[in-house]
Amino acid sequence: MLFKRMNKRNLVSTLVAIVALLAGCIFVQNGESLLWTKIISKILIFSIAALALNVVCGCLGEFALGHGGFLLLGYTAAVLIATFTKNMIGADFYKEFVYTTRGGLQPLGYLILTSDVLIAAVITGLFGFVVGIIALGRLKGDYLAIVTLGVSLIFVNITKNIPALGGAQGINININLGGSPLIYGIMLVVSIFLILTFMKSRFGRATLACRDDNIAAEACGVAVNKSKVLTFTFSALIAGLAGALYAHFNAFKPIEFGQDLSIELLIIVVLGGLGSLTGSIISAGIIVFYNLWFCTRSWVPEFFASNPKIIYGIILVVIMLFRSSGILGTAEFSWDWFYGLFKKLKNKLIKNKKETPKEVE
């Protein structure tokens, strides 16, 4: 049913792309370089988070300033659930059936990991539902931005001050379920799939209608408030998934969450293009690569290395001045475009061949 309408070429291309992505993930996690594992992991997780934010900012057309808070919520939920599960089942059992001797995961381990992040995502989604009802159900206009900002500030400060929820040092992760690029890659594919099909359904259509014109949407029978709350809940759920994935990777600290993260995600989305999922993924790649690779090179001027965020300001100003719609605007990657490119290239080559003799004459 799912792939009934896809033509064969696109279906095969999609499958090949997914396999290639996952193979790449496996290659990286089997490699020796911790830096590259970290870079790829963070790109994948940030892509998911940016997609989540883009659902609200690009597709629904409302501004949300607190998605970092949802990531933190997903993170905290995942850690608490994982710790609880481990305490319930017992460390001995984990040693025998969950971990491999090399520190990887047995099939049961993958099952526990997957359920953990999915449950955490759902909890975050429920929380997003409540925030959505408060911010969107009654209020109009820019209130969503302000309410989400407020909620995320509350959340960051609570977790900072209650040791059981993280405290200033963050929760000490002794539940490491070996989050790995492969898992992140799979979850990115799942997220893209969920968002694409959601947007193709009557619910996504209502979302886009609300973005373009609330009053007209209402006049066409769309329950605008309900539709907005649903979309926001969906976005929070995906953001929670990203946060939960963060929890299982040793190299990340919860300190990295907070208002800076919300802003960083917003910059990623604006840079990629509001409404373009492809753009969000590309720009997540650029920003993470810049932070984790570029800024750690020895040949990079000291100034950049110690003030990496200066580039964010530059990006915002440059984008607004020269390309306010972001790198991709609202354009999306499609196989038709991809293969069209090949055709164009071929035509150009043939033309060039034909034209060269003329020039000789």
């Binding site: 049913m1 799912l2 009934k4 309408r5 969920l194 099909t197 959601f198 193709k200 359904s201 009557r202 619910f203 996504g204 259509r205 209502a206 886009l208 209608a209 973005r211 373009d212 014109d213 009053i215 007209a216 949407a217 209402e218 006049a219 066409c220 029978g221 769309v222 329950a223 605008v224 649903l230 609202t330």
Partner: protein
Amino acid sequence: MSKVALKANNISIVFGGLRAVEDFSIEIKEGELVGLIGPNGAGKTTVFNMLTGVYIPTSGTIELRGVDVTKMSAHNRVKMGISRTFQNIRLFKRMSVLENVKVSSNINMNYSIFDGIFKTKKYYEQEDKATAEAMEILEVLGLSEYVNEQAQNLPYGKQRKLEIARALASHPSILCLDEPAAGMNPIETEELMETIKIVREKFNTAVLLIEHDMKLVMGICEWIKVISFGKEIATGTPDEIKNNKEVITAYLGE
């Protein structure tokens, strides 16, 4: 005797002291083509806004096919069989022509979010039906060649027609058109009036038409209501309206 599609009983609305519409009543039977005319600022659009649920009248009641909808929200009223177009075009600019129309099909679909995400049989059945219906409507309005075009890229006259197409997709029993010919040249206007007649026959709906230009409505409406300064000043057939003294005064000014 055909049934009543829309009935308004003495609806009034006050905006901060301004009585924009006062004691307005109307009864439209299924399939009728009715005109609502009046000078600038008479309160025509305000009447539409009350009928469709954008504003709740200060007093009076509104019924759709015999059901009291006075307090019902705008989106629920669409399900009761009323739909409208806007005086200032309000399309979903960045959506395709087809998707614009399909937004209104939402109320005829009931597949769940899981059907949507996993594209079940139900999803395809309902989406396909909506697409087929939308294509049919677009065909009648002469928009077939623009199906995949973004709404904002359509020429002005076509945008007006797309608004009508979108309003038809929710299967209205009463279609309210707010100055659909505004900004069109005489030839386009003529053509639009023909289209409205065809639409009414084909989609089996009553039409309530606001038009600024009196001559225009005279041609196609069965009967006409005239308002001025928020109050009704005349109701009757085009001929009766044409010769009504009060109407002439209202239009020519005192």
